[in-house]
């Protein structure tokens, strides 16, 4: 033990540190901290990102809706037996197509062509409805009409069998089939729809948008009308939203602010929707509903065309509660006419 000296004892020995040693240690510690700081500063990459984890961004659709009118109705209900006369009557009640479409407008018409079914089965937008709407839009002076949908099934087959290809050819409308380059990521603060691939190509030059939907039963969400019609603009594996179908459909009222929506209730698919398959599933209701508020239009369609209790249509209540439309169509400025 006699060989033990002071330096071997270390800090635990309780020995006092000399001024020289204290300054030495302080200097070393300060140099280490300064070195670490300098190294961190040198290594810092403010623009560093990891692909796939960057903040998601995407397009936001333009608002194609008109300013609300205090003069014209926002909802028109027309009854008749022929598509053209009835649609024309509904549009006249709304103030005429000229209220919505001006000379030179590029108009996107979004039909529901989800299936390769013939028109009689009422699972898709009827060719006579497209013909009538396109005619009115042309009369209003539109420079171009684009007809676009993204069916899950073969687009060419769906457009062909539904009879819309023939109408497009006959009236020189531009049919836009979805291609890989037609899609772009959409950014939305929806209840469930936040960031998703969207059939954007038709909207690049569009100045006005019209939704033209059949009124039909739907196996999952009770009804497919003008609000659900926008589902056909999503790309990818969109069926995964079926788990939250009422949320996603209500998000469409946020996603799309169309100029006009038209609900074709001339022949309504009352059961076995959305595909149908039998004429017995179809009931003639001889009604066209047109308006600027898709929630109001669908509320009328569900209660008066599908003849069901509006209380059960969750997605419409969600949209109403979020201020995206008015489910109480009776409270809106509306007009009912006979063609």
């Amino acid at each position: 033990m006699s060989s033990l000296n002071q330096a071997d004892l270390g800090p635990d020995s309780g020995e006092a540190v000399s001024r020289r040693e204290f300054l030495l240690r302080l200097g070393l510690t300060s140099a280490l901290i300064a070195g670490a700081g300098l190294a961190a500063r040198k290594l810092w990459q403010p623009k560093h990102f990891v692909p796939g984890f960057e903040k998601e961004t995407g397009l936001q659709l333009a608002n194609y809706a008109l300013e609300p009118s205090k003069v014209y109705p926002s909802l028109a209900i027309a009854h008749g037996t022929e598509h053209e006369k009835t649609i024309r009557a509904a549009m006249t009640a709304l103030g005429g197509m000229g209220r919505f479409i001006q000379k030179g407008d590029v108009v996107v018409i979004k039909p529901n062509v989800a299936f390769d079914r013939p028109p009689a089965l009422a699972a898709t937008t009827h060719p006579d409805a497209l013909r009538a709407v396109a005619k009115l839009v042309m009369e209003a002076g539109a420079s171009k009409i684009l007809v676009a949908d993204n069916p899950i099934n073969s687009p060419t087959g769906c457009f062909l069998k539904s009879g819309l290809t023939a109408v497009a050819s006959e009236m020189n409308l531009d049919l836009m089939y979805p291609e890989a380059s037609s899609f772009a990521p959409l950014q939305l603060q929806g209840e469930i729809l936040k960031h998703w691939t969207f059939f954007n190509a038709p909207f690049k030059k569009a100045t006005k948008v019209i939704g033209l939907a059949p009124c039909k039963d739907h196996n999952l969400c009770h009804a497919s009308m003008t609000t659900k019609n926008w589902y056909g603009l999503l790309g990818g594996r969109r069926n995964q939203f079926h788990q939250h179908i009422h949320s996603i459909v209500s998000d469409f009222a946020l996603m799309m602010k169309p100029t006009l929506v038209i609900l074709d209730g001339m022949n309504v698919l009352m059961s076995n929707g959305p595909t149908g398959g039998r004429l017995s599933d179809v009931k003639p209701m001889n009604t066209i509903v047109a308006g600027t508020d898709m929630v109001s239009v669908d509320a009328y369609g569900y209660s008066h065309l599908l003849e069901r209790d509006i209380a059960e249509l969750t997605y419409l209540h969600k949209a109403h509660d979020r201020g995206l439309g008015n489910i109480n169509w009776e409270q809106t400025l509306h007009k009912e006419v006979q063609a």
Binding site: S3, L4, Q6, D8, L9, G10, D12, S13, G14, E15, A16, A39, L43, Q45, H48, V50, P51, G52, F53, A114, F115, D116, R117, P118, A120, L121, I152, N153, S154, P155, T156, G157, K161, A166, A180, H218, N219, L220, C221, S224, G236, R237, N239, H242, N272, G273, P274, T275, G277, R278, L279, S280, D281
Partner: protein, 397 residues
Amino acid sequence: MANEKPPRAGNRKQFVRTQVPSVERAAAVLILLLLAGIGLAIAFKGRHFNPDLYTVRTDSLSATAAAVEGKSGTLREAAPAPVVADPAPAAETAPDASATPAAAPAAAGGEGEGGAEGAAAPTPAPTGEPLEIALPGLKPMSPTEFYNSDNLYEKIDGRAPAYQGFNVVALRCRSFSVTAVAGSFVDVYEYRFDSPVDAFGMYALERDPKGGPLDFAPDGYSGEMGYFFRQGAVYVQVMASDQKPETLALTRAIAQNRAQVLPADDQGLAGRRRLPAEGMIAGSVGYVADNAQGQSTLKDVFQAKYQAGGAELPFFIMVTAPDDAAKAWQSFQDFCARFGKAEVLPDVNGGRIFRAQLFGKWKVVYQRAGEVGGVFDAADAGQARIFVEKYLRGGTK
């Protein structure tokens, strides 16, 4: 006095190492060098970002991507199946469930199409037997499309869950143009299910109550624009594009063809076969898989409505093992006695019968060997008893 050691508690001795072996010193130096090296490597790597490091490997997603890209439209254009000009009907077979599924996926192609090298190439799409129908005046519009339960939504979208609920296995479908009528076509859908009972269940769910009976398929009906029937485990839909006479005639011919070609299989449908045809209200046949009449013992029950003696009588049949049939009958009687009034009637032709009034409605239920059945929810007890006794005597065909 500053160098004086403070007093220590107890007799503990301090551990002080006076000799550190050179090996230990070398190891310590090595560890320090290694740590410094790791630090330098991290610093170097951090300053030289490799963008490939976090890039999503699309090839690993090819299986899922293909299903999207490979929707039937893409498939149709990318990999058209050969169309047989004059196929022999004898060569036609029902789709093989093991071969049919997942047709669309990888035919979709995309980057790996055409046998691209490496693991990124999608697996070639399995397909089933093409749907060939050799009838004069009929021409295929497109190749046969194939779907399985997972990608059925690509064809029928939101309707798919209803079919999945009955264990659909596959769908093959094809469109045929009617050569005599420009623009007319006929769609043929063949949904293959897990069992004939499943196929019947889906068929019954979609049945048109106004449909007319078919002479070539017992579980079938015709509508104004199509024919719908179950054949074996397949639910067949043959739909015309319009009501033109030539189109409707070919639609019927196709339906008859499918009924002949598809193998008959009524496994699990014995109850359905025993439902008498006489007096049956068209389109009223239904199937209840479990808990029929609120009875856990009544499973795989077939029921239909009948017009008899001016009354409408719902009638059901369950076919099972004799012991199970006896238990079900007894259990049903006990239930009726507990919640209403039940009495045993005299046996008829080997069948034992009870009659019960429950919640204002009448039931007359029999059991004979492995069969339990009877009239339920009848307003007229007399007619219900007459109907059941007549059935047991074989008087109702």
